[in-house]
């Protein structure tokens, strides 16, 4: 009796299984593990963040959190620090991306023509492998105002006077120093991606254009740029997303200082959450940052898609 029961249940289960398997197409099974993992880990925090933006959170066992409506949002739009932080963010992200894309495209084109491309790439690649934390500490030594190598060079070349503060210590230069460090570390990634893009330019078309009398600039503008634009856009999108997110170097060098000169919106979020423990308002600042990033990425990817379809 027992035995019959087991057998019948097994066949019943396997019949259900086969039924589902026939109805659900293969690609769902292949996609699900990854999507479930992503959903389970990223969605609850996301919903929690939205929930927190409507509350004041005290992090105390005796004092319960309270619902405050849109008070956090009102605070956001009346907070002068938010506007200042966005301004710094704009300078930091804009400066970094402009420098990295410019340098990256230029160096990649030079590399593509060089006989020593392989060796040079191996050298140029190294900063990309640095942990951001290590980068931060390394530059703290290099820029130190009494024993930093870079500071020494700056004074020796007469750019700095003997008694200047370090690049980090001066509110006028701190943010641009961050741009410089970010450029040092991440230009290699742009070079890699653009170099890969340059390899997809068919040599025959370049030569045909030359034979037809196109000058160097024409070849660059009308042949090389269209073929490499997908690569350039990928590099741009990647750098944009990471530049907005990452705070590691700033947190391990200036901590947002001096005089808040490097307090970008991401750093400000960190301050609110981990220094002032104002989690509700911190979540609001972070959530609105995320919305802006998603919106910007949507625009970028649409531009990207247009390029792809334009090429066929």
């Amino acid at each position: 009796m027992d035995r019959t029961y087991t057998i019948s249940q097994e066949s019943f289960l396997s019949r259900i299984h086969r039924g589902i398997a026939r109805k659900v197409p293969w690609y769902v099974w292949w996609l699900l593990p990854g999507l479930i993992l992503l959903g389970v880990v990223t969605m609850p925090p996301f919903i929690w963040i939205i929930w927190m933006t409507f509350r004041k959170i005290f992090l105390s066992p005796t004092r319960p959190d309270i619902y405050v409506g849109v008070a956090n949002y009102i605070q956001y739009f009346t907070d002068p620090e938010v506007y200042a932080a966005w301004g710094k963010m704009g300078k930091y992200v804009g400066g970094s991306i402009a420098l990295q894309m410019g340098l990256g495209i230029g160096i990649a084109m030079l590399l593509n023509k060089s006989k020593h491309e392989d060796v040079l790439m191996a050298i140029y690649l190294v900063p990309l492998m640095f942990a951001s934390v290590v980068t931060a500490y390394l530059y703290r030594v290099l820029l130190h105002s009494s024993y930093g190598l870079y500071h020494w060079l700056l004074v020796t070349f007469g750019i700095f006077s003997h008694r200047s503060p370090s690049l980090f210590g001066n509110p006028d230069t701190a943010l641009w120093t961050m741009v410089m460090i970010d450029t040092w570390q991440w230009t290699p990634l742009v070079i890699l991606i653009v170099l890969a893009g340059l390899k997809t330019v068919p040599r025959s078309i370049v030569e045909a254009a030359r034979i037809d009398g196109a000058g160097k600039w024409r070849v660059f503008r009308d042949v090389i740029i269209p073929f490499t634009s997908p690569a350039i856009l990928i590099a741009l999108l990647l750098r944009f997303m990471d530049n907005v997110r990452f705070v590691d170097v700033i947190l391990n060098t200036t901590m947002g200082g001096p005089a808040d000169a490097t307090k970008t919106i991401s750093v400000y979020t960190y301050y609110l959450a981990f220094r002032q423990f104002d989690l509700g308002y911190g979540a609001t600042v972070g959530f609105l940052l995320l919305l802006v990033v998603i919106f910007a990425a949507l625009i970028l990817t649409n531009v990207f898609r247009k390029y792809i379809t334009a090429e066929g």
Binding site: P44, S114, I123, V134, L149, M241, G282, G286
Partner: protein, 287 residues
């Protein structure tokens, strides 16, 4: 460009100078770190007078000491443990992330499902969330489910935050594989899984190499999540390096030695597979 161009034109000279300057700017900090990590702390800071180039040259000539490395691995810093943590976490997370990404991106590339692009965009948006924002709720959730300071919790975090990137790149590679090849194999009687493993994966292997490299790099260098979710048990080397700073000051020699140890495996890995990265990216992601 071609071998015929043996003369040195002005623009070529300019290009070579640019490449050299960029090289110096890239290499100087790295050389400085490597040298300084073998110097005594006092010697690191013994910079010459401003303008004294001979003194600067002498800074690079010294008797190397392994003191900092010995202190890192033998002393209180206990670097061995964190090195092992880093290796295990990176290895396991990459080993889970890349196969998951492969299946998901193949499905997103070949499946005839509605809303494919929306799903794909959602996947990418999960990568855009600033870690600073995510880590607070994630911290409380991890406590709630007993995942904080545990190995499964750390692997879960690492895998999840690398997965969108893997799916993004891998989908490009798979899109670039001509469907006719797969259809021919299907007609020959291979199952979909067999086609994927025996036909598609070998075709995109340099792309997979690039993805493995980049995912491992992100895991190895992860900082904020590890700091907040890892605790003492699963702390990794990058976080450990920041702890060599105490109230009395920073152990700069140890920090620089630790930094050197952190970057060496990835630098070797990166230089070894750099051709795969360029070739892999050329193949798929850029179409």
């Amino acid at each position: 460009m071609t071998k015929k161009e043996t003369y040195l034109s002005f623009s070529r000279l300019l290009g070579i100078i640019a490449l050299i300057i960029f090289g110096i700017w890239t290499v100087l900090p790295i050389v400085f770190m490597a040298f300084a990590s073998f110097k005594m702390q006092v010697e690191i800071f013994a910079m010459p007078r401003f303008g004294d180039w001979g003194g600067l040259a002498r800074w690079f000539v010294f008797k190397p000491t392994f003191l900092h490395y010995r202190e890192l691995f033998g002393g209180r810093a206990d670097f061995t443990r964190y090195l092992i943590n880093s290796v295990i976490l990176t290895f396991v997370s990459t080993a889970i992330c890349v196969p998951l990404g492969l299946f998901a991106s193949y499905s997103l590339s070949r499946g005839k499902m509605p809303g494919k692009d929306t799903i794909f965009f959602w996947v990418i948006t999960t990568r855009m969330a600033p870690p600073v924002v995510v880590c607070v709720p994630l911290y409380f959730l991890f406590i709630r489910f007993g995942l904080i300071r545990t190995f499964p919790g750390m692997v879960l975090a690492y895998t999840t935050f690398s997965l969108p990137f893997a799916i993004w790149l891998l989908r490009g590679f798979i899109d670039a594989v001509p469907r006719e090849i797969e259809e021919a194999a299907r007609i020959d009687g291979l199952s979909r899984l067999r086609v994927f493993i025996n036909v598609v994966i070998p075709l995109i292997r340099s792309g997979i190499g690039a993805v493995i490299m980049l995912v491992a790099l992100f895991c190895w260098n992860e900082y904020l999540f590890t700091l907040i979710l890892g605790g003492r048990q699963w702390e990794t080397m990058p976080v450990r390096v920041t702890e060599l700073q105490t109230a009395t000051g920073v152990f700069w020699g140890q920090v620089l030695a630790g930094g050197t140890i952190v970057i060496i495996p990835m630098v070797i890995f990166g230089i070894t597979v750099r051709k795969y990265i360029v070739r892999g990216l050329t193949m798929g992601a850029l179409r």
